[in-house]
């Protein structure tokens, strides 16, 4: 049986995860903490919801409750590293689910807390979170690349227009300047585009 290594989260890292819990220290809160620790996770409990999570957090189990919702969303906004959120719910009505969506949860566990299913939800939440992070990273890279391609095209057409160059010559000129200034073609292109904007600025059109 070959194991697929293509997913983002490796099970062997389970005990390295930094897990935080925002839940009242009632029977469910304690049962949740007990089982996280039984699994071997480093779990830290907070109540009432703190202003911010101390340091790094991989996962956050959070009680879904209108009373603390504003504090929780603030806490998530301020997080140094966004954690994968697992919502802990006692109802499944639309009003509750609206709060679940607003906390951008990756998994949901119900009350009363039962040990069975907690580990599975934790693993899936962390994995989905990491997959999404990977995709977002790729998306930013692609967006940046697209913008720079656009600038290069624009810079080439500026050079072609002002210096009467062919497209290939314009590109070679960009590359030569980048090498001379020890920078990237993208930077040179951006400089040309900016300069062109400045040169063509007309107060009456501003």
């Amino acid at each position: 049986m070959k194991r697929d290594k293509a997913h983002a989260f490796a099970l062997k890292d389970l005990r390295e995860l930094s897990v935080h819990v925002v839940h009242a220290p009632d029977e469910d809160g304690l049962a949740l903490l007990d089982h996280l620790r039984r699994i071997g996770c480093k779990a830290e409990a907070h109540w009432p919801p703190p202003e911010r999570l101390p340091g790094h957090a991989d996962l956050l189990f959070v009680a879904i409750d209108r009373e603390i919702h504003a504090q929780v969303t603030k806490l998530l906004r301020r997080a140094e590293t966004a954690p994968a959120v697992v919502a802990v719910v006692d109802y499944e009505n639309p009003a509750t689910l609206q709060l679940v969506l607003e906390t951008r949860s990756f998994a949901v566990i119900g009350k009363p807390i039962r040990p069975f299913g907690l580990l599975a939800n934790l693993v899936v939440a962390r994995n989905t979170f990491l997959e999404l992070e990977k995709l977002q990273g790729r998306l930013s890279t692609l967006e940046a690349k697209l913008a720079s391609e656009r600038n290069i095209a624009k810079a080439k057409s500026i050079l072609m227009e002002f210096q009467g160059l062919s497209e290939a010559e314009a590109y070679r000129s960009l590359r030569a300047q980048a090498m001379a200034k020890r920078t990237t073609i993208e930077e040179i292109a951006l400089a040309i585009v900016h300069a062109n904007d400045l040169l063509n600025f007309r107060p009456d059109r501003a």
Binding site: M1, L11, K12, L14, R15, D34, H35, R37, R38, I39, G40, P115, F116, L119
Partner: protein, 382 residues
């Protein structure tokens, strides 16, 4: 607590198969529970109250386990002993949880479970798999062949073994599964594969009736246990008694208990068991765990009461001088601190212990990747 007059007995349910694929081992577990109950009763019971057992024979079928457990809790029973295969435990647990009862499960299993209503008396993988893989790797080299019965325990056990072997620089050549109700043909292919590679150690999690088939096929193929032995978690004394020493000779088993453990508690345990169930009645780690769990329950009930919540709390700190050595329950995860051992069968089918832990080892049922030095065996080569 004042001693009560002999009054309402404490009723317990006992769920072990006497027929079906795993009956050989489960019969010994049933025997051990019956014997332990008699010992507790002979000792005055639980503060004067006798333990009375209801026995069911669920015939290795998960559905029958569930039905039998349901009938027991419906009859007001709140303390159950039983189950060998994980599939049967999974069938019983919801019934027990629903009723607020307790299940005492006396069998090694794959870990990754916790129920507030269950106490686990058998080895977790960190208490048997890791030590076995390490010992065989050091002694017979880095090449392994994994074979198991087709169900959850062998899958997870093999995942752990494979992880460990590969981390330590060894190699798993093949991972094969045979049906629980196996035939000789199922093993022919595996044996052919094992024969095709020199120096390949076999790790077996084959359970029940298939065990004898595997060892027979191995011997008939002319394989040599001094070169490519079988190491197993599930080939205990009952399985060896069934197939005979000639087939078992030279092969290894890892378990917290063997008949050959030299403790006073074990000598007394074996003497009583054999005077009752026959001079040659085999006893394995699963048998011992079943026996130990009854005594643990009795100790906790004397400390507290037979009310499930009180019992659960008292069990969390219960200790007992078991035949394998002093054991205690881990209050956090409900599993048991046990003494890892490795033994090799001789020509008479007797397990000679070749390595044992110096201390009882904490159960870690949620262990995914074993640390390198989880186990400190002392070489006690006979």
């Amino acid at each position: 607590m004042p001693v009560q007059q002999a009054e309402t007995p404490i009723r317990v349910g006992v769920l072990f198969s006497q027929s079906g694929v795993t009956a050989v081992v489960e019969q010994t577990q049933r025997n051990a529970v019956a014997m332990a109950i008699d010992e507790v009763n002979a000792d005055g019971g639980i503060d004067g109250r006798l333990i009375v057992a209801d026995y069911a024979d669920p015939r290795s079928d998960p559905k029958k386990y569930r039905e039998a457990a349901q009938a027991m809790v419906d009859a007001g029973i709140r303390i159950l002993f039983g189950c060998y295969m994980s599939s049967t435990r999974k069938a019983v647990l919801p019934v027990v949880e629903q009723a607020g009862a307790l299940l005492f499960y006396p069998t090694l299993y794959e870990g990754f479970e916790f129920s507030p209503n269950c106490f686990y008396g058998g080895a977790s993988p960190n208490q048997n798999s890791i030590g076995l893989a390490r010992y065989l790797m050091r002694t017979y080299g880095p090449d392994f062949y994994l074979i198991g019965s087709n169900y959850v325990f062998p899958y997870e056990s093999n995942r752990i073994m494979r992880d460990f072997i590969e981390t330590e620089g060894g190699r798993v050549h093949q991972e094969r599964y045979v049906p629980l109700a196996s035939s000789d043909e199922d093993f022919a292919r595996a044996i052919a594969e094992i024969s095709s590679q020199p120096r390949m150690t076999v790790l077996s999690t084959v359970v029940g009736d298939g065990t004898a088939r595997l060892y027979r096929a191995y011997r008939e193929a002319g394989l040599d246990p001094d070169v490519t032995p079988i190491g197993s978690l599930t080939t205990g004394e009952p399985e060896v008694a069934l197939m005979g020493g000639a087939l078992a000779e030279g092969h290894y088993t890892a378990a917290p208990y063997f008949e050959t453990v030299k403790t006073e508690a074990n000598r007394a345990f074996l003497r009583r068991y054999r005077s009752r169930f026959g001079a040659h009645a085999p006893v394995s780690a699963c048998t011992e765990a079943a026996y130990v769990q009854v005594h643990m329950m009795a100790i906790a009930a004397r400390d507290a009461s037979d009310n499930v919540d009180d019992l659960r709390t008292a069990l969390g700190v219960a200790e007992f001088d078991a035949p394998q050595g002093r054991v205690r329950i881990d209050g956090d995860n409900h599993h048991t601190w046990l003494w890892p051992r490795i033994a090799r069968a001789d020509a008479s089918g007797t397990f000679r212990i070749v390595s044992e832990s110096r201390t009882a080892l904490k159960p870690d049922p949620y262990l995914i990747t074993p640390p390198s030095a989880d186990w400190a065996p002392s070489a006690t080569v006979a």
